[in-house]
Amino acid sequence: MTEKVILAGFGGQGMMLLGKLLAQAAMTDGKYVTYFPSYGTEVRGGTAVYHLIISNEEIFSPLIEDANTLIVMNQPSYQKFKGMLRPDGLLLLNATMIKLNDPPDARIYKIPATEIASKLGNVLVSNVVMLGAYLAIKKLFSADHILGQLHAILKGKKGNLFAINKQALESGMQAIKS
């Protein structure tokens, strides 16, 4: 098993955290994992991209050329990174911010993540909505396993954010099941 995921959105949409949660979950599960962020010139509002590889075997290059999965949060990121997805890959997109005029050859799931997060009361959890949807499709880790990672990250002052993140994760999973 080797899962190569490209995560992309604008800076501030939480793609970094989404990937880190998956990477931590993979690590505690005893899997090999590499997580390579874009760095340096990215700013809030700019496009940020992350390369995440999870495998049962040693990972050589952490750079992805043909992704199994593309999780994408906004239109510019979609235009920029759609070419990195394999023809049979999984395309998980934030339908609130992306219009697909010319659907590519891929398994496509449209999740209105920004809208769902706003209804929950905090637009910042749109990334965790996407994470829930991804888990419901690929089933790499259980929701409990991911919630455990979230719990470890949301310590101290951030502790009160756990409840809404849990709701976001469940809403994302529900969006796939229904």
């Binding site: 994992v33 590499t34 997580y35 010139t41 040693e58 050589f60 290059s61 952490p62 750079l63």
Partner: protein, 363 residues
């Protein structure tokens, strides 16, 4: 317990755990996570963290702390490391132990912020003025980054010599599971040469200036003797699949990771591909490469440069077999496919080349 850290963070924490209590740096991408981590951790362990006014100031602060007997470190990326060269020459000339981390980025000049291995010459051939060497260690994973930082401090103290960790933007930024599990080496020589206040003892002098005729030549002879000893005892490399290999790849750091993938894929080929991964770039693993050159059809050196380490490979081989080169510059990272195509181009047997090319087309 395993942690998910960037190479930059792993280097910083390993330094703290190795007893480094003096860190001086100046920000530059792609090594900012290292200086940032140090700014938080140093005060926690009662150490000194200074964001210096420049790279030149930072390396000279290292000189001061090292002269006083402390474990001191600085880090930067290529353009900043160029600025430190005068200081490194003085550190080598004064025989002061310290650790310098270079998270290489593209050059020359301001270049760019992506991964590169184009500072090899600067790192292993001296960089600054005078006949000197720094010990140069090249990690290829986040785990190895931490392990080599521990070793760097021990080697520096053992030989009273600056040690450079030569990473690159990819190793610095990459997050991988890693563990801190090494203890600092015991039985290191006592720093009875350090400037600790001379009350009740003969004074110590730390200097790199020998104006009396003959003194400097004598000191250089001492340095060369030390370098010879380091070359005899401290060479490190990883050899993979080298027994009965038809072709040997030579690569370090990020390039070596890609070459490992080629070695793994090569199990489908009709001929065998091996890898020598130098871990110490100085001293260079000359002997094993010379030995290999007598047994293989050819050697291919892979670097993220226009061809620097390949010169040391050729000096090791001394014409015993052809030495080829594949490199990418300016932020380009070689892919396993590109390397296999290059192998197909250079193998002497046309039929093998043909099969390889077919394999690359199938992927």
């Amino acid at each position: 317990m395993k942690q998910l850290l960037t190479g930059n963070e792993a280097a910083a924490e390993a330094a703290i755990q190795a007893g480094c209590r003096y860190y001086y740096g100046y920000p530059i991408t792609p090594q900012n996570e290292l200086i940032n981590y140090m700014s938080v951790r140093m005060p926690q362990v009662g150490g000194t963290f200074i964001q210096a006014e420049s790279e030149i100031a930072a390396i000279n602060m290292v000189y001061g702390s090292a002269a006083a007997g402390g474990r001191a470190m600085t880090s930067s990326s290529s353009p900043g490391i160029s600025l430190k060269q005068e200081g490194i020459s003085y550190l080598a000339g004064s025989e002061l132990p310290c650790v310098i981390v270079n998270i290489q980025r593209g050059g020359p000049g301001l270049g760019d912020i992506s991964a590169s291995q184009a500072d090899y010459f600067q790192a292993v051939k001296g960089g600054g003025h005078g006949d000197y060497h720094t010990i140069v260690l090249a990690p290829c994973s986040v785990q190895e980054m931490a392990d080599l930082v521990y070793d760097a401090f021990d080697l520096a103290d053992k030989y009273r010599n600056p040690v450079m960790i030569l990473g690159d933007a990819q190793i610095g930024q990459l997050m991988e599971p890693m563990e801190f599990h090494k203890k600092p080496q015991k039985n290191l020589p006592i720093k009875n040469w350090a400037l600790t206040g001379a009350a009740g003892r003969k004074k110590n002098v730390i200097k790199s200036f020998y104006p009396v005729k003959g003194e400097l030549e004598e000191f250089n002879a001492h340095l060369q003797k030390k370098y010879k000893m380091i070359a005899e005892h401290e060479v490190r490399y990883e050899a993979i699949n080298v027994n009965n290999a038809d072709i040997i790849l030579v690569a370090y750091g990020t390039s070596a990771r890609i070459c490992k993938e080629v070695v793994k894929k090569s199990h489908r080929f009709e001929f065998k591909v091996g890898l020598i991964r130098p871990i110490t770039l100085w001293p260079f693993p000359t002997d094993i490469i010379r030995k290999m050159s007598e047994m293989v059809q050819c050697i291919l050196t892979v670097e993220m440069s226009a061809g620097q380490m390949v010169e040391d490979v050729r000096l090791s081989v001394e014409g015993r077999c052809p030495v080829h080169f594949y490199g990418r510059t300016g932020g380009g990272v070689p892919t396993s496919l590109e390397i296999i195509k290059k192998i197909a181009e250079i193998v002497p047997d046309n039929r093998v080349a043909h099969t390889l090319l077919q394999l690359t087309e199938v992927k």
